[in-house]
């Protein structure tokens, strides 16, 4: 069995699966049970400054988007940082860390953008013996209205400034958690690096309204007839998160910076994909909130089996492996030609590929009177929509045409050489081939 032992910034954990800073990690009871269930680490739910704790709404805090069979695909929340007393949290963190020395315990922090505030809380956190801190610069609701959370994460200068304070007043690793509610995630990541951050974690939740109640005409979750945007997470946000992760992994100013991946991770495969894009570990929240702590068992067995199958003996073997293959559109090989292929043995004749292609794409699938669906190579641009809408996995595939064959759509011979847009004759700015 592959070794899942994780070393992220020198922080050891038995596996790379951490619970993200969120309701599941709000207290000792949960965290102990999470560790017993098999989670490698936790990021304790965000602590605020000493004093009266924040208050939460006493109505619904979550809203959801569903797929078939009411499978939860997206969740949003309007819960704030911990509403428990700072010192209660600190005592619990200290006890848990002492009892679980081999598990990772990270403390998420959000205090006002003032040096004194950070200077006050950091020694208290240091004293817990926790393995590091994560700066919550991402929370998009409530706290951002008070100049914290995403309000900081949206200003690179603030990120750099606060990170620097943390490195000054705290001795262990500092992880900066980024908000996706910005235009270019590389800017805040670079700011974190300039401030001395040991790593970034992303994404925090996305501004969202999950639904509108058409009886009360209020967004949901609704509190006494009014709603507000919340933070969106769950499987639906995974593609957005992975894109942002890849941008940081690829950018010159941030490449090589350790990343903790967050955003809709639900299965071992999701985790492996984030790690392939450069994440040293991953953090999970919605999947645990949907199914309970037990899901980590599947993540552990799945990742381990896959690593065995691929011959990876440690996580480092595959972390970042997909980064070199993530590129800009202009570098994609325009000489590559594929065609859809429908496996008639697997086809259940639902005709969704036909409807999608005929109504919305390239009219490249034929339908016979007895419901045999076939690809018309002369029209197929290999867009993949048929693959995406087919309910049977693997029934429709994209097959590359061999070099030297003729694409019946264009009449052109498939060239063996790689050629991209930068040298394409249709590109007004093409660089002439030497």
């Amino acid at each position: 069995m592959a070794n899942l032992q994780s070393d992220f910034l020198g922080i050891k954990s038995p596996n790379p699966f951490w619970l993200a800073s969120a309701p599941p990690t709000d207290k000792e009871y949960n965290v102990r049970r999470a560790f017993e269930a098999g989670w490698g680490g936790v990021v304790w739910k965000t602590l605020g400054s000493e004093g009266p704790p924040v208050v939460n709404v006493n109505g619904p805090r979550y809203g959801a988007i569903y797929g078939a069979d009411r499978r939860l695909l997206g969740l949003n929340n309007i819960e704030l940082i911990t509403d428990r007393d700072l010192f209660t949290n600190l005592e619990e963190i200290k006890r848990v860390k002492a009892d679980y020395p081999n598990h990772a315990v990270i403390v998420s922090i959000m205090v006002p953008c003032e040096e004194e505030a950070w200077k006050a809380i950091l020694p208290l956190v240091e004293d817990t013996g926790a393995d590091g801190i994560e700066l919550n610069f991402g929370c998009p609701h409530g706290m951002s209205e008070r100049g914290m959370g995403a309000a900081v994460g949206q200003v690179p200068e603030y990120i750099e400034m606060v990170t620097r304070w943390c490195k000054q007043y705290y001795s262990k690793p500092v992880i900066v958690k980024l908000t996706p509610n910005i235009t270019d995630v590389r800017k805040p990541a670079a700011a974190a690096r300039r401030g001395g951050a040991d790593a970034v974690s992303l994404i925090n939740t996305i501004n969202s309204i999950t639904s509108v109640n058409l009886d009360t005409m209020a967004p949901e979750p609704s509190i006494d007839g009014k709603g507000t945007h919340g933070g969106y997470c769950g499987p639906a946000v995974k593609p957005i998160a992975m894109s942002m992760v890849s941008e940081i992994a690829r950018a010159t100013e941030t490449s090589g910076m350790p990343i903790s991946g967050i955003g809709g991770i639900t299965t071992w495969r999701d985790a492996a994909e984030f790690m392939a894009l450069g994440c040293g570990n991953v953090q999970v929240c919605t999947a645990a909130m949907t199914y309970g702590f037990k899901i980590v068992q599947e993540m552990i067995s799945g990742l381990s089996d896959w690593m065995d199958e691929k011959g990876h003996t440690s996580l480092d073997d595959f972390v970042g492996m997909a980064v070199p293959n993530t590129t800009d559109w202009q570098y994609l090989n325009l000489n590559y030609v594929a065609k859809a292929r429908i496996n008639q043995d697997d086809c259940i004749k639902c005709g969704r590929c036909y409807a999608a292609c005929e109504d919305t794409s390239h009219q490249a699938i034929s339908m016979s009177a007895d419901r045999v669906f076939e690809v018309i190579d002369g029209e197929c641009v290999a867009c993949n929509l048929c693959v995406n809408v087919c309910p049977v996995e693997g029934c429709i595939t994209m097959e590359a045409m061999p070099a030297g064959s003729v694409d019946p759509r264009t009449g052109n011979v498939v060239e063996p050489e790689y050629a991209n847009w930068t040298t394409h004759p249709n590109n007004p700015g093409a660089v002439a081939a030497e």
Binding site: K349, C350, R352
Partner: protein, 440 residues
């Protein structure tokens, strides 16, 4: 009561009194909201869906299921009922396993089709339970149409004609409307008086008068009806039953399965219905299965369904055959009845085994039988009918007969299987052709 399953002869009250309501409750209890949403989520919304093609009334099944999914079951019901005004009954009695659900791509994919029939019932019940009739009549045309038979074909035709603005009179020989929906379907397929409720709901469109106790021949002729109306639609079904053609067929204990089924449906308390200890049903269709299963449900000790060919030739679907087997009915094949024995009342029935070509093997077998139910087909009755094709009224694709101004549909006419849903489709299509003819 001292009777039980072991009591010889044909007696009532074989079961404890409190057992009957369970025995004859809904075969498929209605889906609740949660079950309906889970079932509806499995529909793939296929292109040009095979289930629609398989439905004799061409209900847009993917659309109505999507309407259930999106929380609009009444819209789903309208989608169903606009194609099939008896969609509620069809949801209960259609052999969906041979129609829409057999064609469902998830049957091909996983051997488990979307529960189309039960979803259809969910939607139509939702609308009808509110007493809502969603169709309105068009402006009056001044035309009148006479319909013979208030079964599925006749009522379907009547509703469509009334909707188009015509005035319709339906004549039916029996005391209640509904035809086989009321008299000919197993009790556990349509409980709580649904057949009458559906008729009442259907008639709520207005413009339809039903006259009971009026049969063709005895009370009126096609010529009379044609003379008094702008069009006539014949939908009287098959009023006769095929005879067994055996000596002793009049012995006590021998009766037509259709009468047995009808008595069950009309009984105020099924416990009062007598049933044999050893029941033999002759036939291989739905009527035979309905009779055999219900004989068992009434407490018969042994029920044998005897069919002259192999199981694969039975008109009853595999699902129905399995249902019978699961209720304890023994299915005996390749057996042709050759004799009824007994003094006054039947005691034994004798069969000869035949091969697939129906050639006798010379081997015979006798079964103990204190009740024999025959379900070997129904026949068209009446004189002065339009031209027949075989034993049914010959019609073209829109129900036109050889007589000008006379249409026919349902079991009395050629075309399609003898199913409720087919009758509804034929009634509807004839109505559209009648309308076009009268308005041109």
């Amino acid at each position: 009561m001292s009777q039980n399953s072991f009591t010889p002869g044909v007696v009532a009250h074989r079961l404890p009194a409190d057992q009957y309501s369970d025995q004859f409750s809904d075969l498929h209890p209605p889906l609740n909201d949660h079950e309906a949403l889970v079932a509806a989520d499995r529909c793939y919304f296929c292109h040009d869906a095979p289930c629609i093609t398989a439905c004799p009334t061409d209900i847009d099944i993917p659309l109505f299921i999507r309407q259930i999914t999106t929380g609009t079951p009444d819209a789903a019901a309208k989608t169903i009922l606009s194609q099939n005004i008896m969609g509620g009954m069809c949801a209960r009695v259609c052999p969906t396993e041979d129609l829409c659900e057999q064609a469902c791509v998830r049957e091909a994919a996983e051997g488990k089709p979307v529960l189309i029939g039960q979803l259809q019932r969910y939607a139509t019940d939702h609308l009808q339970d509110q007493g809502v009739h969603p169709f309105e009549r068009a402006e009056a045309t001044g035309k009148t149409v006479a319909i013979v038979g208030a079964g599925p074909a006749g009522l379907s035709c009547a509703h469509r004609l009334a909707m188009m603005g015509h005035v319709v009179t339906v004549y039916d020989a029996r005391a209640k409307s509904g035809g086989l929906n009321e008299y000919g379907i197993a009790t556990y397929k349509t409980t709580n008086g649904y057949a009458q409720d559906e008729v009442d709901w259907l008639l709520a469109i207005g413009g339809i008068t039903v006259e009971h106790g009026k049969s063709l021949g005895a009370d009126m002729s096609i010529a009379d009806l044609s003379a008094r109306n702008d069009a006539v639609f014949l939908a009287m079904g098959l009023g006769g039953v095929n005879a067994l053609g055996l000596e002793g067929a009049h012995k006590d204990g021998v009766l037509d399965a259709v009468d047995f089924i009808s008595d069950l449906r009309q009984a105020s308390d099924v416990a009062n219905l007598p049933v044999g200890r050893d029941v033999v049903v002759i036939g291989g269709g739905m009527t035979a299965v309905d009779a055999a299963v219900q004989a068992k449900l009434l407490g018969a000790l042994n029920v044998t369904l005897a069919y002259r060919r192999g199981r694969e030739r039975m008109n009853a679907s595999v699902y129905e055959q399995d249902l019978a087997a699961s209720k304890g009915v023994r299915i005996m094949t390749h057996a042709v009845p050759v004799g009824l024995h007994g003094n006054g009342a039947v005691r034994e029935i004798e069969f000869e085994y035949v091969d697939d070509a129906m050639t006798g093997t010379g081997q015979t077998v006798r079964l103990q039988a204190d009740q024999v139910l025959t379900a070997i087909g129904q026949t068209l009755q009446g004189d002065d009918l339009p031209r027949l094709d075989g034993r049914k009224i010959a019609v073209d694709g829109t129900g036109r007969t050889s007589l000008s101004g006379v249409w026919a549909g349902g079991d009395c006419a050629t075309g399609g299987d003898d199913l409720t849903v087919t009758a509804v489709a034929e009634g509807r299509d004839a109505a559209m052709d009648i309308h076009t003819t009268l308005m041109s």
